[in-house]
């Protein structure tokens, strides 16, 4: 059988073997001891032609309920937003997507410049001075931030708000185990970080304080009250933020954050079952040399022409090896490009409008739902595009009924916290029309 990705003909093979002075390809594998040579055929399915493959993949895809056919109110860290056509066209340029990391800057100026622009946009968004070229995703960026806080402060204790995304806290816990950090979870009070408990836990051993705003429940934390607690013992103040919210909310940088992390997924990156997304990592200039991952910097060539290179590489694993404080190697360059294209498309004005649309839609939905008997707002806190409500029936039962009406219901908060059984977290982005919101309200009215 022939394969379209394998250009070697029989004649090529013969010619190449003859240059090598051998009879068969097997001779090139003689150095694999006989006992561990694989015999027979791998038990994977038979090959498919391209038409058969697309049909098979199409059938698998059709077994999934997509946002095209269902109105989704799921968020909880991954959000359906409109992805402008230009995004897909740009990231489909194969000069971008088939390139490796830009280690040869002379033939990678396009990628390098695009990332330099991405870094700038992340700085603008977060109110920070320096951003890297991206991380795997928001939660791993958050865990890496804890490592930076420890390495900068020389201390081991990390205080993390219980209102940080539960999966991010899981990842932080295992990262902390590896790095030998102690993580103390600060409980919530009325849906936001309990400042008294935070104050009580904060001491001279504290390396850093991590909060998320809007937090996992959608509530906006008062960063102006958290910052002094984080800094009172010279700890590092780490804020995880939803980037769309920063079109409307004062950025963490203006509140004195030292590190701002998050996920750029809402900008031009499909939810795609949870990944790949695109973590961002922004810091003050003071922490510039502690940032994990790749950073692009501006320079000039021999003829004084402006150009871009990967820089400050002395931080990275391929140079520092066992002395590295992070092992990150790849980033999410193509998704960072997607985010940069979307941020460019939005522009200064579009970003603000997008944020306001999200804010208005979510508040309309919350107001309508709160009027229903059987629905109660879980918290009385300011929120952005996501909010929690308590239902009079089990969330899983309600969601099952909603699916039949082509509505994907909210995130069951009882999954992570027994105290929140019966509560659901709903996200309402610009994608939800008034009609869809009203339909959700009507369905719930019937169900509860």
């Amino acid at each position: 059988m022939t394969y379209r990705y394998l250009p070697m003909t029989e004649q090529d093979r013969r010619e190449m073997l003859s240059v090598l002075g051998i009879e068969s390809v097997d001779e090139l594998f003689q150095d694999i001891p006989e006992g561990i040579r694989f015999q027979g055929s791998l038990a994977v399915p038979k090959p498919l032609s391209e038409p058969a493959l697309t049909k098979h993949m199409g059938r698998l895809a059709q077994k999934n309920a997509s946002f095209d056919q269902y109105a989704s109110f799921l968020g909880a860290g991954a959000y359906e937003h409109y992805v402008p056509s230009v995004v897909n066209h740009v990231i489909s340029r194969s000069e971008f997507y088939t390139a490796y990391t830009p280690y040869q800057p002379e033939i990678s100026q396009g990628e390098l410049q695009a990332i330099f622009e991405f870094q700038t946009m992340i700085c603008e968004l977060t109110g920070m001075e320096v951003a890297n070229s991206s991380m795997y995703d928001g939660p791993t960026a958050l865990a890496e931030a804890a490592g930076v806080a420890s390495s900068v402060s020389g201390k081991k204790k990390i205080l993390v708000s219980a209102a940080v995304h539960p999966e991010a806290r899981h990842i932080l816990a295992i990262q902390a185990k590896g790095l030998g950090l102690e993580v103390i979870e600060i409980p919530c009070r009325e849906g936001i970080t309990d400042l008294e408990r935070l104050q009580a836990a904060s001491d001279s051993d504290t390396a850093g304080v991590i909060v998320q705003s809007p937090n996992f429940y959608g509530n906006i934390e008062d960063l102006s009250l958290i910052e002094p607690i984080a800094h009172q013992h010279k700890g590092i103040f780490i804020v995880s933020a939803n980037p769309v919210s920063l079109g409307l909310l004062k950025p963490p940088g203006e509140f004195g954050a030292d590190i701002v992390v998050g996920d750029a997924q809402p900008f031009g990156i499909q939810v795609q079952f949870g990944g790949p997304h695109c973590g961002f990592f922004a810091v003050t200039r003071k922490l510039m040399r502690k940032v994990p991952g790749r950073i692009v910097g501006q320079t000039v060539d021999e003829e004084d022409v402006r150009g871009f290179v990967l820089t400050l590489q002395a931080r990275e694993q391929h140079i520092r090896r066992e002395k590295a404080t992070s092992n990150i190697c790849s980033n999410q360059a193509l998704n960072a490009l997607a985010a940069a294209v979307h941020m460019t498309a939005l522009g200064k004005e579009g970003l603000q409008k997008l944020a306001r649309l999200n804010f208005s839609k979510a508040h309309y939905a919350q107001e309508q739902l709160s009027r229903l008997p059987g629905v109660e707002p879980l918290f009385e806190q300011p929120f952005f595009n996501e909010f929690a409500v308590k239902l009079s029936k089990p969330v899983s039962e309600v969601n099952k009924a909603l699916i039949k009406q082509r509505i994907i219901g909210g995130y069951d908060l009882g999954r992570d916290d027994e105290a929140l059984i019966g509560s659901t977290l709903l996200a309402v982005t610009e994608m939800r029309t008034k009609e869809e919101i009203d339909e959700l309200v009507a369905e719930l009215e019937g169900l509860l």
Binding site: M1, Y3, Y5, L6, P7, L17, V19, P33, I36, L42, P45, H56, M57, A61, N64, Y70, A76, A78, P84, V86, R93, F96, Y97, A99, Y100, T101, E106, Q109, G110, E111, E117, Q119, T120, Y136, T140, I171, I174, L248, L249, V271, Q272, F273, G274, P276, D301, D304, R306, G307, L312, E322, N327, S330, N335, K348, L351, Q352, K353, R356, S360, N399
Partner: protein, 491 residues
């Protein structure tokens, strides 16, 4: 194209837009009425203001200033720059894959879960492992995940003093870095004069404090560790486990399996062996496979099958927990799955056979121009040394830059660290003999230039838009973002 390209911010003009947002069909809410004053943003983010055509021309020009596999040969050692099939880019964009949420009820994502389940099975078969987790986002994260499992395994046996991970001196930088980040101390085992792990040195290094040995096989020199069974025995007898760095798995598909070699845990780079595009640096995907002994420690959830179909299985009382949010880099899993379904068992084997034949052919034909430090058959990649050319005043870096003038991406240079003036060349199986011959011809020409006209190499590249860039300046006076007024002036 001019050498210098404006930044998108330098094209900005107030009043131009490239967005199209849905009409607001609900009552507009003024945040000032609902949020405390101090929470509202006063200074808007300075995003560029351009029209849609401005945007497209900008990024199109940037793409033209970039070299990918589709532009030309890319023999970057250890990176497996093979062709990225176009059909993968189509299927991954099907709404049923692209527009689904990780928290949707299981019954609404059965196709996605089935794909993940089958991929777990296929990767376990290919690597000879018992169970696979698709969670890790990249190779380095896979390494760290594997090491955290090894740590949990030793701790579960009360062996808390096993704090050392042995890493060959030829290893990728991520290996020792992952060991450190997982809380181990990395110790080095040296290579012998054949470029293989020194078994004698290994015997000295291994001991009661050994948690694991990390090994790439074939190693980063492209050589198969022939004594792998003995190496595995030594480590196992000492109570340690074996970690397989799958960066070089493109050499062994259907030929040998890490599980059969004695490895206990393996990661694969789907963006190398399984064609998911490198994307200019990512996203990647780094699934890990384990033998039974480590199955209890796998990250959760894995995808299982039950009476009601496929489901995310969170069972695992000894699991190390979650290493990545949601379901790993699902989009990359779709592509790798499509690739395995396209190639089938014989196709997978041919991938490695052709990759290895291509590499050996190139090495053989290049040996008259360059020093070959290890004279034996290689696997999917090989190393050359530029020592001969160094004596002529030409460094490996210079030759790499000279290759740019011929439209070829240079090999990996100065790695592995144990070979002087190293060039590490990996042709992959998707390149034709004609392409290899052209490259060999270019390399021959450069070797000749080194003898006769070294300046032309030392001053390379000559044909690129920008010339060699001042990296020292970039690091000493870091300019890491655009600021109003800084860009063109502040060079």
């Amino acid at each position: 194209m001019s050498a210098e390209k404006e930044l998108i911010f330098e094209l900005s003009k107030p009043g131009r837009v490239a967005y199209s947002l849905p009409e607001n069909d609900v009552p507009d809410v003024d945040p000032k009425n609902l949020l405390p004053e101090g929470m509202i943003r006063e200074i808007p983010a300075e995003f560029p203001e351009v029209s849609e055509l401005d945007l497209i021309r900008h990024y199109t020009e940037l793409s033209r200033r970039n070299h990918g596999i589709d532009n030309g040969f890319y023999p970057l050692g250890s990176c497996t720059m093979k062709y990225n099939p176009k059909v993968h880019e189509d299927v991954v964009r099907y709404p049923g894959f692209a527009k689904i949420h990780p928290f949707q009820p299981g019954e609404t994502v059965q196709g996605a879960l089935q794909l993940m389940y089958e991929l777990q099975q296929d990767l376990a078969e290919i690597t000879g492992m018992d169970q696979v987790s698709l969670q890790p986002a990249a190779g380095a994260q896979g390494e760290w995940t594997g090491l955290m499992m090894i740590r949990a395994y030793h701790e579960s046996r009360g062996e808390t003093k096993r704090n050392k991970v042995i890493v060959p001196d030829s290893a990728h930088g991520t290996n020792p870095a992952s060991a450190t980040v997982a809380g181990f101390e990395a110790v080095t085992v040296t290579s012998n004069n054949e470029g293989l792990v020194s078994v004698a040195d290994l015997k000295k290094v291994v001991g009661e404090d050994t948690a694991a040995l990390m090994l790439t096989n074939p190693n980063t020199l492209g050589l198969f560790e022939r004594e792998i069974k003995e190496i595995a025995d030594i480590v196992h007898k000492a109570g340690g486990l074996l970690y397989y760095d799958g960066a070089n798995a493109n050499a062994i598909l259907g030929k040998t399996r890490p599980g059969d070699m004695g490895f206990d845990v393996v990661h694969l780079n789907l963006h190398k062996t399984f064609t998911t595009p490198h994307g200019g640096g990512g996203p990647g995907s780094g699934p890990v496979g384990v033998k039974d002994v480590l199955v209890p420690f796998l990250p959760v959830p894995v995808v299982s099958i039950g009476e009601e179909g496929y489901f995310l299985n969170y069972e695992g009382p000894q699991s190390i927990g979650r290493v990545k949010a949601f379901n790993g880099n699902f989009g990359m899993l779709v592509r790798a799955y499509a690739y395995i379904r396209t190639m089938g068992p014989d196709g997978l084997r041919q991938i490695s056979e052709n990759a290895v034949l291509n590499a050996n052919y190139m090495m053989k034909r290049l040996e008259k121009y360059f020093d070959v430090p290890f004279k034996q058959h290689c696997k999917h990649e090989f190393v050359l040394s530029g020592n001969r050319q160094k004596k002529q005043g030409v460094r490996t870096l210079d030759m790499a830059k000279r290759l740019l003038d011929f439209g070829v991406h240079p090999p990996t240079v100065y790695f592995p660290l144990i070979v002087e003036e190293c060039m590490m060349i990996e042709p992959t199986e998707t390149e034709s003999k004609e392409t290899l011959d052209q490259f060999i011809e270019v390399m021959g020409k450069i070797a000749k230039e080194a003898e006769e006209n070294p300046e032309v190499i030392q001053e390379a590249p000559h044909t690129t838009l920008v010339k060699r860039l001042d990296e020292v300046r970039a690091a000493r006076k870091p300019v890491l973002r655009w600021e109003k007024g800084n860009a063109l002036q502040d060079k």
